[in-house]
Amino acid sequence: MEKIPILRMGDFLLVTIQVDMHDRLAMALQDDLTQKISETSARGVLIDISSLEIVDSFIGRMLGNIAAMSRVLDAQTVVVGMRPAVAITLVELGMSLPGVRTALNVDAGMELLRESLNGHEGIRHGSNF
């Protein structure tokens, strides 16, 4: 079965969505990521959507779910690389992705994750990032 790869880099998980996902693939990614966060005790998830030509309500909801589930598992999610045309369309559609942190690109997203991790330091035992 088709799968979106999830890469691990230190305390973070990285996902680059490079295909036009059908709904089941998006659901599978949501499940895989949640599983992976728990398995690896990841503290952050970075999702790069710069290849996505559209984000409709289904994908938008998936991004919101991932952000919410990762938060419950004590990890932060940042969505990066949204195309301007996609941002315009999403807002007009009525989805402003509440609860989803975004950054313009991967660098800014990593920065955001590191900052939030540093702010968190000491709360979780053994995390010495």
Partner: protein, 133 residues
């Protein structure tokens, strides 16, 4: 108004939704819609195709490119599903039935220039949208 091209695409499975997006994108690009307008009409198509599949039990989309007075792309989604009992309610933002998959038709309507809906309970639904250049 002249129809430059017309094709019908079945909407009976999830991969069909992906194909609908691709064909609408190609057609919208062909008639020279701006990138933002292409994105809007493809997103609208994705929303409606999903509705056709999930709520309508499957159906089809007719994809037409138009000429006159301007260039445009017109999409007609039809299904023989249960129909929509209260169209005003379905057009309200945030409206969705049980499964919680939809955003309501209101958002989709904002993405296009023209939006028409016909629905008969027990017979099916037809939604026609047009985006002009």
């Amino acid at each position: 108004m002249a129809v430059i091209s017309s094709e019908t695409i079945p909407v009976t499975s999830e991969p069909d939704i992906v194909f609908v997006r691709r064909r609408v994108r190609e057609t919208a690009a062909q008639i020279g819609l701006s990138l933002v307008d292409q994105t809007k009409v493809v997103t609208a198509a994705s929303e409606l195709a999903r509705n056709t599949l999930i709520y309508g039990g499957g159906g089809a989309m007719q994809l037409e490119s138009l000429n006159g007075p301007r260039l445009g792309v017109r999409l007609t989604f039809s299904d023989n599903g249960p129909g929509i009992p209260d169209i005003q309610l379905a057009l309200r933002d945030g409206f969705t039935t049980g499964s919680g998959l939809g955003l309501g038709l209101g958002g989709t309507k904002r993405l296009v220039n023209e939006f028409a809906i016909e629905s008969k309970v027990g017979q099916g639904t037809k939604i026609i949208i047009t985006r002009w250049k």
